[in-house]
């Protein structure tokens, strides 16, 4: 890497006078954004709680019908991916950019595995005649009141989460490009870190979707 590139990677951007100050601002900005994301999902979890309280039998039936093994594999996939990206941030701070790049690439691949499994689930459910809004042949054969609410919430909440997975994969791919081109190095590790924090939030949301839709 040239001296000019070195200087660009190290120098703080306007209006920051030092690197740590800029890193903290970036980190805080991401946390405040994530707080708003948490409230978005909290509204949906509230809706879930209210519907489940009204229709406990239907929600029990819905959980029993959900693809528990696929959903559980997906939980493990996200937990491993979060571990990989947390390690990536740490090794990048120590200057091991190549290892960091590999770990970020691994995280993006696992994000792809998660989406592939999720799509498999959706395709199987559509095949069974389960569609959002209580449409499909399944709901003519299974008349328990509240089943339409369960499956609409299932598609809505896991679908919104899947959108976040795609966004997270995109952000981490941008970070990976930055690592490969030398724009993200040890002194500017916060650029990877803010995207990693976003990825952890995607993991966090799934940690609560999993028991609600697949386990209990």
């Amino acid at each position: 890497m040239s001296t000019v590139d070195d200087a660009r990677a190290l120098a703080p951007a306007e209006p920051f006078s030092d690197g740590p100050g800029q890193a903290h601002a970036a980190r805080l900005g991401m946390w405040v954004f994530l707080a708003s994301e948490v409230l978005l999902f909290a509204a949906l979890f509230t809706l879930f709680a209210a519907s489940r309280t009204q229709h406990p039998a239907a929600f029990h039936e819905g959980v029993a019908h959900a693809k528990k093994v696929l959903g559980s594999i997906n939980t493990a996939v996200l937990l491993v991916s979060s571990t990989l990206v947390a390690l990536a941030v740490q090794v990048l701070r120590r200057g091991r950019t190549r290892v960091a790049g590999l770990l970020v690439a691994g995280t993006v691949v696992l994000g792809g595995v998660f989406l592939a499994i999720k799509i498999t689930e959706y395709v199987e459910h559509f095949g069974e005649g389960i569609q959002p809004g209580g449409r499909g042949a399944f709901f003519q054969e299974h008349a328990t009141r509240g089943l339409a609410e369960f499956w609409t919430l299932y598609f809505g909440m896991t679908g919104l989460h899947a959108v976040h997975v795609v966004v997270g994969m995109t952000l981490l791919s941008i970070a990976l490009l930055g690592i490969l081109t030398g724009r993200i190095t040890a002194p500017s590790a916060h650029r990877l870190e803010v995207f990693a924090i976003y990825w952890h939030l995607v993991d966090l949301v799934w940690l609560f979707l999993w028991p609600l839709f697949y386990l209990a």
Partner: protein, 91 residues
């Protein structure tokens, strides 16, 4: 700014603990726990979430401003979910 850095060992231990808790939660889903099933599953989820927030998102070593942003989000979620559920459950 992160005041002190977490070690790679901490991250690996956290990752291992998360997978153990995942296995426990998955295993318990095959046990008939009745009404306790959901609180138990959500309790394990909350424990996993705490590990992710503290050690992967590094809240354990974060500055007070970041802790405040997190605390504000948690407090608002408790108000939103708590009051709505209390209302619906007591009708």
């Amino acid at each position: 700014m992160t005041t002190r850095e977490l070690t790679t060992k901490t991250t690996l231990l956290t990752g291992s603990a998360l997978l153990v808790l995942w296995a426990v939660s998955f295993g318990l889903s095959y046990v008939q726990l009745g009404l306790a099933a959901l609180p138990v599953a959500l309790g394990i989820a909350a424990t996993k979430a705490a590990l992710v927030v503290l050690f992967f998102m590094e809240l354990a070593t974060a500055r007070p401003t970041i802790r405040f942003a997190f605390a504000a989000a948690v407090a608002l979620v408790v108000v939103l979910v708590g009051l709505t559920v209390a209302d619906v459950a007591t009708r």
